[in-house]
Symmetry: C3
C-alpha cells in the first residue's frame, strides 16, 4: 500500500477558466505504477472547484451559466462589503462545488466514463497560479 | 489492507429514477469481510449523481424539484444545440451533484444515520444500464 | 497503514449554525501521528453538510443565503406534508451539499489553503447533538 502526494501546477486566467486535467492525472497515475486504488484531487484554496463533465464547448458554457445562476457576480456579497476584493461570488461557488474529488482506479486506469473528464474550475476574479494536490492511494 | 473494486448493475428508467442502493452496498461490505475503512461509490458517466437522503416519497419529489430548479429541462442548453441529444440538463445536474461519494465504515457497518440512505440519481433522458463502481478500502 | 475512526461531538443551535472544525481535525491528526494520507469527515445524518470556506462573518452570511436560495424555508416541501416536522428544507440542503468531505494531509498537516477552513453546516430546524465522524487513513 502506497500513498503518493503530488502537485499539478496550473496558471489560470480567472473566473470561467476551466481546465480538463484528466490526461495529467492519467499520466501521473501511470508513473506511480499503482494498479488498484483511488486518487483524491484537492484544491488548497477557497475560490476554485472540481467536478467531472464532458469537456466540450457547449457544456463549458452551460456550466458557467450554472454557477452564474447559483452565485451571480452582480449580487452584493457580505464578503465583498468587508474585504472589498470583489470575489465573494467565487468563494460561494467554491463552497457549493467543493474543492475535493475522489476517483477510483483499477488495473492502472481511472474508472471514468468515455466522455467524462475531471475538470478544475477557476472561480476567482483574477489570474491565479494553482497547485492542485493529487493524492494517489493504492497498490 | 485490501482494496476491492466491484460493480453494481442497475437498469434505470431515465430522469428522476432514483435508486436507494444502501442495502446493496451493505451486503457487498459484509461479503468483503472488511471491518474498518471506507467505500467510494462512483459513476463512470456524465449524466448521473450520488448523494444521501432519507429515501421516502416526499423527499424523493423534493429532490427532483431541487434539480429541476438547478438545471431546468426547458432551458436552452449549449450542449443540446451542438449535440441534439436533449440531455443538456442531465449533464449540468451531474456536474453540480457529482458522481462520487465516500462513506466510511467501522466494525463492518456503514456509518450512516438511521434515516440516511445512499441514493443513485439518474438524470439522463432515457433508460440506462448503469454499472456503479464500489471501491472498498480497508482491513 | 492505519485507519483511525474517531468522533467529534458538537452541540448545534439549529439551522444556520455553522462550525469551523478545522482546528479540531488538526489536533486529532497530530494525535494519530500519521504523516501521509487523508481524512474523510462524515455526518451520519440527513440534515447537515460539510464543505470548506473562509470562515469570516461576511461569507458566513453569504453561505446562508446560498442555501436559502437553493432550498428556501418557505417552500412547501412534500417531506413536510407527510411528516410535519417542518425541516424539509434541511433535508434538501443536505442532499445537495452532501455530508462527506475528504481532505488529504502530508507531512502531518492538512493540505488546506491559508484561508480555507473545514466547516460543519447545521441545516436542521432545531438544536442537535452531532457526532461527526473523522476517519484518518494513512501512515
Amino acid at each position: 500500500m502506497k500513498i503518493i502526494t503530488e502537485y499539478l501546477e496550473l496558471k489560470t486566467k480567472g473566473d470561467g477558466d476551466y481546465h480538463n486535467i484528466t490526461s495529467h492525472i492519467e499520466t501521473r497515475l501511470k508513473e506511480t505504477g499503482l494498479e488498484e486504488g483511488s486518487v483524491t484531487i484537492f484544491v488548497g484554496g477557497s475560490t476554485a472547484g472540481l467536478t467531472t463533465f464532458e469537456f466540450e464547448p457547449g457544456l463549458y458554457k452551460d456550466i458557467k451559466e450554472l454557477f452564474e445562476g447559483l452565485a451571480p457576480k452582480s449580487k452584493n456579497y457580505h464578503h465583498n462589503m468587508a474585504w472589498h476584493d470583489g470575489n465573494g461570488y467565487a468563494h460561494v461557488r467554491s463552497a457549493i462545488c467543493k474543492p475535493t474529488f475522489t476517483c477510483p482506479f483499477s488495473k492502472g486506469k481511472l474508472l471514468l466514463g468515455t466522455w467524462q473528464q475531471i475538470v478544475f474550475l477557476e472561480f476567482d476574479n483574477r489570474s491565479r497560479d494553482r497547485k492542485i494536490i493529487l493524492q494517489f492511494m493504492g497498490y
